[in-house]
C-alpha cells in the first residue's frame, strides 16, 4: 500500500496532523493502536477520504540511511505501507509511545532518542502531587520536528504530541509538523 503520509497514533496529535494534511490534499493513513478517543476529528478525517486503521500497531520500519521507506503493521502482516513522510504521534507510556525498564526509557518502534535523566532517583518527585520530572522526558527532535535517532535527525520521520520531551503543546506541535511537510 502506498500513500503520502503515515501517521502513527490516532490520538489528538495524530488526528490533528492527519486532518490538516488530508485536507491539504495529501493521502494519509493513520495507524491507531493506542488510545483513540476523539470521535469528531476521526469522523472528519474519514469523511475527507483518509484511511484510519483502528487497533493496529506499527511493528517495524525499513530505512535507507536516515530516510524511512516503509512500515509494517500487526494487522496488515506482510504488506508494508510506503509513504513519503511519517509522523510518530504514539503518545506516552499508557499508549506505549514510550516504554521503560527499571533504568531506561526508550521509544519502542524506531528507537528514537529519548531525553531522560540517567539518574534513576531523579525520575520521580516523592511529593506525589508535585510536578513529576518524568513528565518532561520524551523524544528529541531538531528545530523542524524531525525525530532524532542516534543523534541524527531522520529525514522524513517527524514526532508530534505527547511523545515529545519538554511537554510541548499537543495541537501546535502537530500543526508545526504539518507546515514542514506541506
Amino acid at each position: 500500500m502506498r500513500c503520502d503520509v503515515v501517521i502513527i497514533g490516532g490520538g489528538l496529535a495524530g488526528l490533528t496532523a492527519a486532518l490538516e494534511l488530508q485536507r491539504a490534499g495529501r493521502r494519509c493513513v493513520v495507524v491507531a493502536g493506542g488510545m483513540s478517543l476523539h470521535e469528531t476529528p476521526r469522523a472528519a478525517f474519514i469523511a475527507a477520504g483518509g484511511v484510519f486503521l483502528r487497533g493496529d500497531f506499527v511493528k517495524r520500519g525499513e530505512w535507507k540511511g536516515s530516510r524511512l521507506l516503509r512500515v509494517w503493521t500487526r494487522n496488515l502482516g506482510s504488506e508494508p505501507i510506503e509513504a513519503k513522510d511519517f509522523i510518530l504521534a504514539t503518545g506516552r507510556f499508557f499508549s506505549k509511545g514510550l516504554a521503560s525498564t527499571m533504568d531506561e526509557i526508550y521509544e519502542p518502534i524506531f528507537g528514537c532518542d529519548v531525553r531522560y535523566d540517567k539518574d534513576r532517583s531523579a525520575w520521580v518527585n516523592t511529593d506525589f502531587f508535585g510536578p513529576q520530572p518524568f513528565e518532561e522526558f520524551g523524544v528529541e527532535t531538531d528545530g523542524c520536528g524531525h525525530a532524532m535517532i542516534h543523534g541524527v535527525a531522520a529525514e522524513n520521520l517527524y514526532a508530534a504530541g505527547e511523545i515529545l520531551c519538554d511537554r510541548k503543546d499537543i495541537e501546535q506541535s502537530a500543526l508545526a509538523v504539518c507546515r514542514n511537510i506541506i
Binding site: M1, R2, V29, G33, G34, M35, S36, L37, E39, R42, A43, I46, A47, V51, L53, R54, G55, D56, T73, R74, N75, L76, G77, E79, F94, S95, K96
Partner: protein, 408 residues
Amino acid sequence: MQEHNISENNFEQCLKCTICNSVCPMMAANPSYPGPKQAGPDGERYRIKDPRFFDLTLKYCLNCKRCEVACPSGVKVGDIIQIARLKYARQNHPLRDMALASTDLAGTLACKAAPGINGLVNSKPVRNILNAVGIDQRRAIPEYASETFVQWYEAHREEQAAYDRQLNYFHGCYANYNCPQLAKDLVAVMNACGYGVKLLEGERCCGVALISNGFGKQARKQARANIAAFDASEGPILTTSSTCTFTIRDEYSQVLGLDMHGNSERIEMAVKWLYSAVDQGTVKLAFKDGFKARMAYHTACHMSKLGWAVYSIGLLRMIPGLDLVVLDQECCGMAGTFGFKKENYNLSQKIGSKLFGSISTVAPDAVVTDCETCKWQIEQGTGLETLNPISVLARAIDVEKTKKLNNA
C-alpha cells in the same frame, strides 16, 4: 506482552481505563450488561478463584471484539468472555440454540426444500411455531438457494481445474446455502484475473455459531475437520466472509485452544489478496464504462478486528463510476444468531438503529459490507440491497478487458 504474564489473554495488562466500555454496543443499549471490563478482566479474577462468580449476563456479549480493537493494552477482552461462557454457562434454550448453530444441517435440509421452503418459513403459522420455540417472528428468515454453490461447482470443476494458476476458496455456509451468487461472483472475478478456484476437501461450517451458543465440544470437532482440510491444501485460502475468517484465524487457537498447524497466515479475505495483487501489479482490473452507483461501506465489527476493511475500501475506490461513502464504524446489532432470538430482537434493533440512521443520511443505492449477518440486519433495517465487495466488483469489472490485461 510482558514476559511475566501468566494468562494467555493479557488480562494482567488491564489498567482499568474503561475505553472498552465506551465502545461496547451492548452496554450502551442494555443497562443490565456489566460491560466488557467487568465481564472480562475484572470478572476473570473472581472466576479464577471460584466459578460461582460466573455472571449469566455474559450471554449479552455480542463477541463483536470492539473492546479488543479499542484496548491500548492488548487485553483480549472478548476472548476472556467467550472462554468463560464456554466453560461455565448452561444453556436455557439448548434445542433452539443448537438448531440455530447447526448451519450445515439447516442449510442442507433447507436447500433441498427450496425455493418452496422460503415462502413456508415466512408464513404466519410457521412463524408462530418458530416464535414459540424462541426465534422472533419479526426477524426475516434468510432465503435458501435451491442449488448450493458446491452443487454448482461440481458442474464447473473441470473448467476451473483448467487454469494454470489456482486459488483455494473457503466459501462458508452463507455463500454455499444462502447466496451462491456471491461464490459465483468470486469465481468470475478470479477467472477474469487468470486464476481458477479450487474448493477444500471436506470443508465444514467454521463453527462461529457453535462457539457463540456455548457448544465448545461440537465447535472443536468442526474446527479440527477444517484444519485437516487446510493441511491437505497448499497456498492461500481465500474467503468472502469476515466472520468465518476471523473465527478460523483467531478463535480456533485463542478461544478453542487448537493448534492451527501454521495455517492461520494462509487464511485471507479475497479482497486482501486481490488488493495486494493489484498493488503489486501482478493482477490488473478493467472496469465497465457504464457502471454508476452510490454506495455506503459498512465496516463489519469482525472486519475491523481483522484490520482489513482498508482492502475492501481500497478495491471499491478503484471503480471509476462508484461514489463510495465510508460509514463510521458501528455495530449493526445482529451478531450472528443473537438477533434471531426472541429475547434479543428488540436489543438487536436498538443497537442497529444508529447505523440505520447514518445509512439513510447517505441515501445510497446499496450498502456494501463483508459480513452476511450484517447484510441481513441492514437489509431488514433499511430496505436497501446489501452486497459483498466481491459482488460489487463482479458487477463493475469488464470481464473481457480484464481477461485480456491478465492474459487469461
